[in-house]
Amino acid sequence: MSETPAELKYSKEHEWIREEGNDVVVIGITDHAQEQLGDLVFVELPEMGSALESGAECAVVESVKAASDIYMPLSGEVVAVNETLADTPENINDAPYGDGWIFKIKLSDSSELESLMDADAYNAFVADDS
């Protein structure tokens, strides 16, 4: 059974979002997502400084099985990327909510946070999906 920490928010694209304050959020993919993908072997990180709308493709994770796009769960500017993933993409498998974080954005519209799911809603979403 995959983990879904209660303090995070979740998108339908299987990303988790943690608020860090000052309208900055940290983004990664969920435990469920990494389990579905299998061993990750490559990550293409978002471009620092790029300002993107919610829903835009911004990164790619590739597992032994397949490539998956990462979409912006919210609109904003990319302010940090997890460079260590270039050499150790397996961090996403080992610690999806910790060392496996992918990038941070500065929100352009913090009201968009309302559109995300909480842990219970995400669990229900995953259950419906499978």
Binding site: G38, D39, V41, F42, E44, V60, E62, V64, K65, A66, A67, E90, N93
Partner: protein, 348 residues
């Protein structure tokens, strides 16, 4: 065993039991096993088996001089396309055993049956048999004590591409580029053997690792690297065609001969990515602005920690190329497979 199951060739198969990368490494470094009972075993008996197989297969079963010897071959259609690739074993009394792919088994049987009727050869689809492949540098040693006592000595002495045909059919063959056994045994004994092998330290591995292992070993996958529309001459399988004696008129021979005379055949090569990304099947290959081919299988090669592919390309491709990955051109080099075998990388 906690396997993640996926449909494959009409069977539910484990993709992996945990980490596909770990499973890959068990096989390259120690010992892993695969349940390959989906593969179809077809036994042939009758006086004319050999003559029939010499017509049916592009490789020549006359090369099988002693019972237990194995031969890899393509079975072609009249146009020279590959209906299937298989292993054929000679058995006692001039009988033969074919091991064919799961997804093609029905088609293969339908193709062989009329010829078998003509030659009065009996075909038996041995769906009563299971098959377990134990592979890796330590696989044979770990297996030996678990084999029937009457076969242990013979199994230990087996050379590559030979089988011991006794209570079980134990072959020194595989699809990983590592030494090991492929064991065919009655289905009802398979679970006990699997559990015993597991206790002996041979780790269960899924289809995912099987695919990366065979890709690294430069072995073709039917349906991906070749199929009925592809000539073995454009799939790196020239070595499996027995052109001599010229009098042997195997199915597809005429087509292959005209292809050879016509020339301009595409080459089947290895590709290694030098830029960043992961190669997959069906990616386009460019030299400058010219489209020169396509990958047929690709992925991350865990032994090399690099991305590799098999590809069909124009005959005049150079050493460097670019592969289009998700809309971007990424630098790559052209190499001769295999990429890794026997625990080590083969490409400098």
């Amino acid at each position: 065993m906690g396997g993640r199951m996926v449909p494959f060739g009409g069977w539910d198969m484990p993709l992996h039991y945990g980490s596909q990368l770990d499973e890959h490494h068990y096989v390259r470094r120690d010992a892993g096993m695969f349940d390959v009972s989906h593969m179809a075993v077809i036994d042939l008996s009758g006086e004319n088996c050999r003559v029939m197989l010499q017509q049916l297969l592009a490789n020549d079963v006359a090369r099988l001089k002693v019972p237990g010897k194995a031969l890899y071959s393509c079975m072609l259609n009249e146009a020279g396309g590959v209906i299937d690739d298989l292993i054929v074993y000679l058995r006692d009394g001039g009988a033969y055993r074919l091991v064919v792919n799961a997804g093609t088994a029905e088609k293969d049987l339908a193709w062989i049956q009329p010829l078998a009727d003509t030659y009065d050869v009996t075909l038996t689809h041995r769906s009563d048999l299971a098959m377990i492949a134990a592979q890796g540098p330590n696989a044979r040693q770990k297996c030996l004590p678990l084999l029937p006592a009457s076969q242990q000595q013979a199994a230990e002495a087996l050379k590559l591409f030979y089988a011991d045909d006794g209570e079980w059919f134990i072959a020194y063959t595989g699809y990983t580029g590592e030494p090991g056994f492929e064991i065919m045994l009655p289905q009802e004994q398979a679970v006990a053997l699997w559990q015993a092998l597991n206790e002996a330290g041979i780790k269960p591995c899924g289809l995912g690792a099987r695919d990366t292992l065979r890709l690294e070993a430069g072995m073709n996958l039917y349906g991906q690297d070749m199929d009925e529309s592809v000539s073995p001459l454009e799939a790196g399988l020239n070595w499996t065609i027995a052109w001599q004696p010229e009098s042997r008129d195997f199915i597809g021979r005429q087509a292959l001969e005209s292809q050879r005379e016509r020339g301009g055949l595409r080459r089947f090569v290895g590709i290694m990515l030098t830029g960043r990304g992961i190669l997959r099947s069906h990616q386009k290959i460019y030299m400058g602005e010219e489209l020169v081919g396509e990958t047929t299988s690709g992925g991350f090669a865990p032994t090399l920690q690099e991305s590799v592919a098999l590809a069909r390309v124009d005959g005049n491709i150079g050493e460097c190329c670019e592969v289009e990955i998700r809309g971007k051109r990424v630098a790559a080099k052209v190499v001769k497979p295999p990429f890794a075998r026997n625990g080590q990388r083969c490409i400098k």
